[in-house]
Amino acid sequence: VTDVSDRTELGSYVYGVARDLDPATVTAVSGVAGSPVRAVSRGALTALVSTVALAEFGAPGLRRNFEDLGWLERTARAHHAVLAAAVRDGPVVPLRLATIYHGDDGVRALLAERGAIFDAALRRVQGRTEWGLKAYLDPAQHPASTADHADPGSSGTAYLRRRRAQLHSGEEVRHAAARQAETIHRAVSAAAEAARRYPPQDGRVSGESREMVLNAAYLLAGTGRASLDEAVDQAGTWPLRVEWTGPWVPYSFVEVEVEPGP
């Protein structure tokens, strides 16, 4: 028997770091691999932590499990659920999926040695929320499906009818879609504190049959997104359909690489 330790060893999985967190906020949430979540604190900083088996979360286990989309989905959803629960109580900075220490001492050392970095990141996201925006080419705007069922009494729809008639090919609609996506992104970025674009998602992961033209995240003060909605309304959406996701933990706006402790 050579791998006893691999089956019995435990590690501390860290989801993220919060300030002045009430541990009760996260104790009801189920963490990765169904584990309970606890708080490991040092000063005002609190790391959200679960105990995990290194057989599953050690380096060989992770390498194997990361190739398993089912495992990855369960783990990613659990990671997100813990952070989403914590952010209701105050600012949280998320750590990248699968940040694992051999024990809580390592987690406390992280908070001690890198406290200033976490403090700065927490200040940056405090009172702010991330919103996701996805714009799809509206299938109803495809030339093949633009049968005229618009209300003839409305000048707006009459204009759109003429506009559609000008666009003979799917290619033209697609170029119009790409241009409108840029217009929307510029308008929403101007209304937000920070913006970040993602590549469009593939339908095989998202399960979405429409073509995604814009995939972006915006950081905004407060918990509503009224000013972002307004920016979209003013920019116009044709021939796209715009959908929001969120509010998100500010994943997209805390990207920092922290060097190992001194």
């Binding site: 380096a59 997100h80 750590l95 051999h102 998202s206 399960g207 959908e243 990207e255």
Partner: protein
Amino acid sequence: MTGGPHSYHRSPAPQADLADILERVLDKGIVVAGDIRINLFDIELLTIKLRLLVVSVDKAREMGIDWWEHDPSLSSGQPSLLEENRRLRHRLEELEPGMHTEQRTDRD
């Protein structure tokens, strides 16, 4: 808003989509060295493999969207994302013989 064919659709926020979560938790957030590290090369493979799943390169390029090819955050440390994707397509086919990857990243 009534949700007519041209209007701006405000969707409620139901349970988040897997693709939305993955693109945020995998290589966003604070990156800190834990005690348990998977080999950096493996992480590169993983993120590129997931980008293959998440990015629909052809569809996007068809619409004239190719900004990521000039985005250093998507190609940092890589000789070329396109080259890397080409190599990884073969690896993907080995790993997931049932999944056909149709992304073409070649310029020709």
